[in-house]
């Protein structure tokens, strides 16, 4: 384990004791939202950073997980956990399907197709208002009846850490190698006997399943969801978070999500300018430091150490 990895692990450890050392509830709430974005940004980086497949449907998939979880709970009277799992399954299966449909498409063509899928999902949720309340928003029951912010914070921390660990396990296995081989040279990988079709679809499905989990948890935490959580603007935030953290590494992308959410709250007096500045930073990062803030820091430490 390098020094930098130890530092990051230290941050996770620090996060685990935050509610115990009297951090205000307001900041626990902010951090919980940040952990939602951490899951979403890292799930996106799993697909874009490792397999080299671009998707703009990640926010929509998180919304799908959220709406399936909430609606199955409302109409089928399922308890929270099974409905949450149904949301994950729905997002995963649809992701698998989209991944399989778009096998032939690359780059901008894939980007456009995923925008179309994301927007169709958002439009459908908005249009079927007798089911989803449309843009007025849907009331959601809490994850745990009467739980305080600290409980939610721990649940989200556990979910985010578990998600990232699962992704790392996946990436460390042979499958992770297949993913990266596909990113570097798809035809070459296929010629070596790797089932490119299977792994490309599966990568899409895994990534969207994690997004669905994040969305479902988020819905039962904020307890009011609207179709705007599936918008392209929301997708833009996720992209900015992953890019600023470092989209070629799931851990860095996750930290990017938390970091940006903290900054977003800390710089509240700047108003709308914050988002414009984040956009500029994301552009500069892509151009000059494609490994993100954390990738850049890691390199800096490596050179010193």
């Amino acid at each position: 384990m390098t020094l930098f990895q130890k530092v990051l692990l230290g941050f996770v450890g620090l996060a685990a004791v935050l509610p115990l050392i009297g951090v205000p509830q307001y900041w626990l709430y902010t951090l919980t939202i940040g952990l939602y974005y951490a899951m979403l940004a890292s799930s996106w980086s799993l697909l874009v950073g490792y397999v080299g497949r671009i998707s703009f449907a990640q926010a929509a998939m998180s919304g799908l997980g959220a709406y399936v979880s909430v609606l199955t709970g409302m109409y089928l009277d399922l308890p929270v956990i099974p409905s949450l799992l149904l949301g994950v399954a729905a997002a995963g299966v649809l992701g698998l399907f989209i991944g399989w449909l778009t096998l032939r498409l690359h780059g901008a063509y894939l980007g456009l197709t995923t925008i179309a899928f994301g927007e169709i999902l958002r439009i459908t949720v908005t249009a079927e208002h007798q089911l989803t309340q449309g843009s007025r928003g849907l009331q959601v029951r809490p994850l745990i009846e009467g739980a305080g912010p600290a409980t939610y914070y721990y649940i989200f921390l556990a979910a985010a850490v578990a998600s990232v660990l699962l992704m790392l396990l996946l990436l460390r296995s042979r499958i992770g190698l297949f993913f990266q081989a596909i990113r570097e040279d798809e035809d070459g990988t296929a010629s070596l006997g790797v089932n490119v079709t299977l792994w490309k679809s599966l990568a899409f499905g895994c990534s969207t399943a994690f997004a669905g989990l994040a969305g479902g948890l988020y819905a039962h935490f904020v307890q009011l969801i609207t179709p705007s959580m599936m918008s392209m603007q929301e997708m833009g935030y996720v992209l900015a978070m992953a890019v600023i953290g470092g989209f070629s590494n799931v851990v860095y992308a996750a930290f990017g999500g938390v970091l940006l959410q903290i900054l977003l709250e800390a710089l509240r007096e700047l108003g709308e300018w914050r988002l414009a500045v984040f956009g500029i930073i994301a552009i500069l990062m892509l151009r000059f430091a494609p490994n993100g803030v954390f990738g850049w820091l890691e390199n800096l430490l490596k050179r010193k150490g």
Partner: protein, 300 residues
Amino acid sequence: MTLVAIAEQAANGLIISTFYALIALGIALIFGVLKIVNFAHGEFYMLGGYSCYLAVTLLGLPPIFGVVFAVVILMAVGVLVEQTLIKPIHTGKVDRPDEYAIMITFALAIMLLNLANSVFGPWPRRPAPVSRGIVEFGELIIPGDRLSAAGIGILLIVGLLLVLRYTWAGKAVRAVSQDRAAAETFGINISRVSMLSFGAGAALAGAAGALIGPVFNVVPAMGAVPAIKAYIVVVLGGLGSIPGAIVGALILGQVEVFATILIPDTNRALAYKDAYGLVVLILVLLVRPQGLFGKPERRA
């Protein structure tokens, strides 16, 4: 449905097609030369609307100069963006250029959207239109502001086609989109053509925004929907194809106007209006990624 109602719907479809074509032509021009899809195109369109608002409402220029102003400003913005963010792709300064191009233009879109939100606020603005009143063709009644905006749009499209067909710069643009390497061997300055086409593409989006601003409203988020429509149009016509962009726009305009009639519940029909084109987009990309007029690539 009466004949007049059908004619009215068809005319509305034609007017909306003009704006789709203006925006889509910019995307096609940029894709043809640079082989990238500009995901910030809707935001260029939005900036065109605000340029028009600045010129007409704040500086008090006549409305037609609002369009000219928007074209000039957006040309400059396009050139600036191309020189700073897009050029590195073609000079080998970024690794994984495909993903870089997609993500950098998407990030640019988010940045411009929030910048407009900060500078102008989320309130709708409405610059004065080029003309007011209504125009009657027999029983058919069309609002004058829409008709004049569409008329200027058509003039711009015809102008662009003539420039592409007859001028040296236009021929250079077509040569580079057909074969980059061959064009370079024949002495065409690729980096200048790239700059020019990105600037012209942005200017077309700006002109569309300046023309629509007075008809609907100018708001920071105005670019999202037309941009997606324009992506549908270019994919339908074939990415990078100029005639494809025009035919695609004509088809989408009519499909949208008449497909609304298919769902009886009007509220739902309106809500789903934007989804039809997206279904078309997915189908075209899956079945025939080169679209109606594009040339097939080994890897789409």
